[in-house]
Each structure stands twice: as C-alpha cells, then as structure tokens.
C-alpha cells in the first residue's frame, strides 16, 4: 500500500475512534487498505477507467436489451404501469400479423437495394478519391457532408426536391419529356426513392472508411503489380480489393445491420406509405409502441425478432470473415 493510502485510512480511523482497535476492525482496515491499493495498481486502475463506460453500456444497452426480452412475454402499456404475463402469445401474434410480415419483406428489399450500393459503390468511389490531392479532399468533403446532416433535414429536403407536383427535380425531368414521375406515391417506385435517400445520406461514411483502408495498402504492392504490367483496373482488382477485405467485411456487416434497422428516413419521407410498401420493421415497431397501439410488450416482441434476425446475419458474416482471415 502506498504511503498516501495508508495515511488516508489511518487518519479516518483515528478520527472515528480513539478506542483500542478490536480484531475484526483491524481485519476490515487491512482489507480496505488492500482494495485501495489494488485500485492504484496498473491493473486495478484500468477497471476504474473502464467503469464509466461499463456503467453507461449497462444503462443504455445491456439493461434495456434485457428489459426488451423480458417485456416481449408481457402485455404492457406504454407507461409500463401494469404487466400481464402472456407467454409466447406476442410471438404467435407477430407471425400471423400481415403488417409485420410485410414490414420484414420491405426491410429485406430495402437492404437488398442499399447494401450492394454502399459496399461496392463506395469502394469504387473511394478508389477514385484515395489520393491525397486538393480535388479529392474536396470530393471527400462533399460525399461526407450528408453524414453530418440530420435525418429530419434530409427527409424534408428530398421530399421538396422530389415532390410529384412542386418538386424541382420532378419539374426538371418533366421538361426533358419524362413526364411527372411520382417518386413518393408509386407503389413500385417509392421503395427505391427511400433507398436512394438513405444511400445518399450514409454513402460518405462508407467511402471515407474505404479511403483510409486504401491509403494504408502497402505501396510496394502496387509497384510490383506495375512491374508485372498490371493496369489501373488490374491493380484495383488484384491489389486493392484483396488488401482491404477486413474493411469490406466491416462495412458489409455494419451496413447490413443499419439497413435492417432503417427508420428515420422512412418516418420523415413516406411514413410507410403508399399502401405500406415502405413500412420497415422498425417503423412498424414504433407505430405499435407509440403512434396508435401503446403496446410496449408487442413492440418489444417485434424488436426481439428483428434483433435475432440481425444477430444471425451478423454471426454468419463474422464467421465468414474470420474464416477468410
């Protein structure tokens, strides 16, 4: 124990008691001192530094997650003031709920549109802007700009631009003879519109991560490829792509999980319409919990199902990534 700790413990003890020390008190004093000493050691102090993060993680992630699992077996209103245990009834209801099944389908379609564009499109764009010159820095800033904008602002902006009658872009297309395209009110088209807005919003972050990965590729590999007669395309396919595979998997996994949880852009632009063709699972969960249902138990059940789907997909991808490594 350090001198400071010893003095601290001694001083406290002297203040509290002028009586001779009993045996168990002496034991307590020793163990407190030992604990104090441990938290000053290199190993012990690490736990103190980790404690704020652990507490926050517990409060905002682990406990709510466990609570959601628990709530999924109850019939609970929004205020959580009464709970009736109903077993797996919520799960049974979920799988016979046509709106929930539809929302899973919509989410799957959305993911199928968004993920390839994010993963492969961002990689290609990153290859063009990887070199550190002024022009590329400018483009990186442009691509990254939407990432720092709020989903609300983005939703309102695109709703105005693509409005079927008063939208600037729609008007521009109509002057080119393409007619007035109803971007937000066509059951076959609107899901693509929402996916486009979502991609536009988060494309920059994927591209910037790829740029960082590409910049870290050993330049001697490119020189060797050049000496073997490889052009830019072959260098990209045979040097860049294999070298950034861990980044590729990271983006694939995070974009997959992100797409399966799409909410804000849908909520701001279509709110699930027209005719539920853009109602994602999280949008539906929100509507059950807050908009009309006040069914916190049922909403938790739907969230748990989505959680399991995301977990399965992520575990499979993670295994694949580890196998490759």
């Amino acid at each position: 124990m350090s001198n400071f700790a010893q003095e601290f413990v001694d001083a406290g003890w002297e203040q509290k008691c002028s009586q001779p020390l009993r045996k168990d008190d002496q034991m307590n004093k020793k163990s407190i001192g030992k604990l104090f000493g441990y938290f000053q050691s290199a190993e012990g102090s690490a736990y103190i530094f980790l404690l704020p993060s652990i507490i926050l993680l517990l409060m905002f992630n682990i406990i709510p997650l466990l609570m959601a699992f628990g709530l999924s077996f109850f019939d609970v209103p929004m205020t959580l003031d009464s709970a009736k245990f109903i077993g797996i009834e919520n799960f049974r209801d979920a799988f016979s709920d046509s709106r929930f099944i539809n929302s899973l389908k919509v989410t799957a379609i959305f993911t199928a549109i968004e993920v390839p564009v994010q993963v492969f499109g961002a990689m290609i764009v990153a290859a063009f802007i990887a070199k550190n010159d002024l022009k590329n820095k400018f483009f990186r800033a442009i691509y990254f700009l939407p990432v720092i904008c709020s989903a609300t602002a983005i939703g309102i902006m695109w709703k105005m631009i693509l409005h079927s009658n008063v939208g600037f872009f729609t008007y521009a297309l109509s002057t080119m003879g393409l007619g007035r395209i109803n971007f937000f009110n066509d059951v076959h088209l609107t899901i693509f519109t929402v996916a486009f807005i979502s991609i536009w919003r988060s494309f920059g972050i994927s591209a910037i991560i790829y740029v960082t990965a590409i910049q870290n590729v050993n330049s001697s590999l490119y020189e060797a490829a050049k000496m073997d007669g490889a052009g830019s395309l072959m260098q990209f396919l045979n040097v860049t792509v294999p070298s950034i595979r861990p980044t590729f998997w990271f983006i694939l996994m995070t974009r997959f999980a992100g797409s399966l949880q799409i909410f804000d852009i849908v909520f701001m632009t279509t709110n699930g319409g027209p005719n539920y063709t853009t109602e994602s699972t999280v949008t539906y969960v929100y509507s059950r919990a807050f908009s009309s249902g006040s069914q916190m138990g049922y909403a938790s059940t739907l969230s748990v199902i989505l959680f399991v789907v995301i977990m399965i997909v992520t575990v499979i991808m993670n295994k694949r990534m580890n196998a490759e490594e």
Binding site: S2, F4, F39, Q40, S45, I48, F49, L51, P52, I55, L56, M59, P77, M78, T79, L80, D81, K159, M160, H163, S164, N165, V166, R180, N182, F184, N185, V187, T270, N271, G273, P274, N275, Y276, S287, F290, S291, S292, G293, S294
Partner: protein, 445 residues
C-alpha cells in the same frame, strides 16, 4: 504516483456524476442534510400559503409554443398567489410522459389531446371540483367539448384548444374557373363539380386536394359521408360500422374517381401544393393558414361540407389535465392557472380568447363566442360552428378508447387499397370491418 491517483479520482468522479444524473427527482427530495424530509418541508411551506411551483408539460413546439411561453410568463409575474408555472415543451411529449410515468415521476399539469386520457388515465386526477373551487362556470363551456374530457361525472381535462379541420379554397383559382370566389362548396356534390371546373392539366392545377397520407383529414371527411366508425350498440357494447356502410363506400368511390379523372393528385402531401397555388380546394387544420399567408395565397375557409351523415362538427379537444403527481396544493395551483387562462382580467383580456384569435382555433367558451372581438374576426368565425348543440365526436364515439388505432390502423387500410390496389370499396370495407372488430373486441372484454 500522484498523477495516477488524480486520474483515478477523476474517473471515479465521472462515474459518480454519470450516476447522479440518473437519480430520480423523488429520490433527491427524500432526505435533507439534517435528516428531515425536504418534501415535507416544502409541503409545510405550501400549506402555510407559501410559494408553489407547478411543472407544466406540453408539446407546443411551434409558434404557438412561443405565445404559450409569453402567456405563462405573464401569469407568473401577475398572479398574487405565489404560483410559478415551470413549463417544459417537448417535441416528443408521449415518449417523455411514458418514461416519466414509468419512473414514478411526472408533471403536475399536462396539456395534451383528450384522447390521451385513455392512455394515461391512471395518472390523471378527477378535476370536476374545479367549478366549485374557482370562479369558472361549467355552463360557459360548450358541452360537446367538455363531454370529450369526461367519463361519467368525472372530468379529466379542461378544454384549452379545439382542433377541427376546415375546407380551404383558393379564391384566385375559383375566379379563373368562373366560380364565385367568396363562396366555398356547400355539399360534396358541389365539391366534385367545382374540382372539375378548376382542374387545368396544362398548368398543373388540380381542383381537389384530398390526401390519402393525412389520416386525420381522411377521418374528418369520411365521417361526413358515413358517420362514426365506432358506436355503442343497444347492449352498451362497442361496434364497428365499416361493413356495408354506404356512406363510406360513396366516399371511397368519390375519392377514387377524382384521382382517376385527374382532378385530385395522387400525393401524400397536399400542403405544399396548396401553398404553391396549385390546388383549388383542400381540407386541413388551422395551421395551414400561416403557410397560405406567407405564400400570399388569396384563400377562403369554411366548415367541411355535410354529407349523407347529416349535420355535425368534428374536433379533437386539447385540454389541461392535473396528474396524480400533483399534491393538493399543487392541484389548487393548477386550478388557479386554468381559471386565469379562461377568465377576463381587469382590462377585459382573456388568454383563451387571445389564443383563439391569434391562431384561429374556434373557442370552447360561450362567453368568448359572444364577444365583439371574436365576432369581428372573420377567419375564426368562418371556422366556428355557432350551433353549440351539434355533436362533436371525431370519427368514433368520444368515449371509445381505441380512437388512435381506428385513425392510424384502419383508415389507411380503407383508403389506400382502393387507390393503389384497385380494390373495390365494398371488399375493402369488409376487410376494415375485420380489423376494426379486433380493435373493438379489445375494449368489449
């Protein structure tokens, strides 16, 4: 060593601070430094006629919120009872209330839709004695609106704002179509006829602005055609009225034919078009007026035309409720604030009247309805149904707790399959009946 110790202490402080932020207010109130209860001291102070602070939560985040802040400040500075109203305006009031109530905390006074009493009923106090404890006269309140806020003899909210939907028309487009610009349609047949005259495809102008994406707009119109979607049957049980409702079927056919003929755009946003001068008529709430005025649209307002369901008005009542978290003293302070809101001061100014005139919300007080200032306000008078005996239920019987589910889950299932899937009205209404029966069944158990 010293540096490490300082770092460890800092980390520990951060942890303590992060935990302290999560402590509930009630916990903080429990024990004072001397070991006596601070809450008890506060109550003793209040009982002795000392200052009282009431927490007042609402979701008025727009320009109405700015005016509410001004009025609350006025009350705080003028009242002689030592009452301070601490207001918290939140864009996500429902989420905030749900979290607070679940944590055993909450405001003393809350301003929300009368339909919220079905969600938060366990947390609201019966305030029917407000008419005994204050100078407010129950007879001055229009009964149709106080009915909204009551269950049996118990009153849970005092009306503060009446939100109705109205028919707006563009006077310039009326003139261009050869219609009388000073008179809106008085029936739905006239509405369709006017829409056809106004539509000008070349100029991208539509006569009608019905919008499938506005569930509230749809609900207000639908009930004009086929009356309430949920009522009580002779056995006192709730019943849904979709299947075989010829009024609803007529509405769906009318809407579909307006879209098919190109007189109504297929869009989920008609507000932008109305403010851009591209719509002849639409139905919306009073908030549309500010957008129209900013855009310089020459417009008229009137009540929504009656349909086959006969004369009615339909409105959502926003009211002030006292929660179970308010002590007796705080409840009395809330009463004082509500009394002040609905009374005239020495200069003849009434906050409730000012609110109606500034934002165009029809009044719920008969005395305001009779005031010269109110009668002189053309805009608000055009939204006011002066027949105070008309029923005001909105889409369902005002006592039906499942109103939110009918509006958000059934109404879109009624309009959108007809517009997008080409389903016929009768088939769609049969499916809606099944959906509504499930909802109604929950409340009949």
């Amino acid at each position: 060593m010293k540096r490490r110790l300082v770092s460890v202490l800092l980390a520990a402080t951060m942890t303590v601070v992060s935990l302290a932020g999560c402590g509930s207010t009630s916990a903080a109130k429990v024990e004072g430094a001397s070991g006596t209860s601070v809450a008890a001291e506060e109550n003793a102070e209040k009982a002795a006629g000392g200052p009282v602070t009431i927490k007042f939560w609402n979701g008025f985040t727009g320009s109405d919120g700015d005016e509410l802040v001004e009025l609350v400040d006025k009350f705080n500075s003028e009242n002689k009872d030592g009452i301070t109203v601490e207001m918290d305006i939140s864009a996500s009031l429902d989420e905030q209330l749900a979290s607070a109530f679940a944590a055993g905390d909450g405001p003393d006074l809350v301003l929300f839709s009368s339909a919220s009493r079905f969600t938060y009923g366990d947390y609201l106090q019966d305030i029917s004695d407000i008419f005994d404890k204050t100078s407010l006269d129950k007879g001055d309140f229009i009964e149709a609106y106080t009915d909204y806020c009551s269950e049996g003899d118990s009153l849970y909210l005092v009306p503060m704002e009446i939100v109705g939907f109205y028919l707006y028309w563009n006077k310039d487009l009326f003139k261009d179509a050869g219609l009388d610009p000073e008179k809106g349609p008085e029936s739905w047949d006239e509405y369709v006829e006017y829409a056809k005259k106004i539509t000008n495809a070349e100029k991208n102008i539509y006569g009608s602005g019905l919008c499938y994406g506005y569930n509230y707009q749809m609900s207000h119109i639908v009930q004009r055609f086929g009356d309430l979607a949920v009522t009580k049957d002779n056995d006192g049980k709730w019943k849904a009225n979709f299947d075989g409702n010829t009024g609803y079927a007529k509405f769906l056919d009318t809407y579909k034919s307006l879209v098919d003929s190109g007189d109504n755009p297929l869009t989920d946003d008609t507000d932008s078009m109305m403010t851009a001068g591209q719509l002849g008529m639409t139905v919306n709430g009073p908030w549309l007026t500010s957008g129209m005025e900013t855009a310089g649209i020459n417009y008229g307002i009137t009540t929504i035309p009656y349909g086959d369901a006969g004369k009615m008005t339909s409105a959502e009542v926003i009211g002030m409720a006292v929660t179970t978290f308010a002590s007796e003293e705080e409840k009395n302070a809330c009463y004082k604030f509500i009394e002040w809101w609905n009374s005239k001061d020495a200069n003849g100014d009434c906050p409730s009247e000012k609110w109606s005139l500034d934002f165009g919300y029809p009044t719920y007080l008969k005395s305001v309805l009779e005031s010269d200032a109110y009668k002189a306000n053309e805009k608000v008078m055009s939204m006011t149904n002066t027949d105070t005996s008309l029923r005001a239920d909105f889409i369902v019987d005002s006592a039906f707790p499942g109103i939110g589910k009918i509006i958000n889950d059934v109404i879109p299932k009624m309009t959108q399959p007809v517009l997008f899937d080409g389903k016929n009205a009768d088939e769609t209404l049969s499916e809606c009946q099944k959906l509504a029966d499930d909802i109604v069944g929950e409340y009949n158990e």
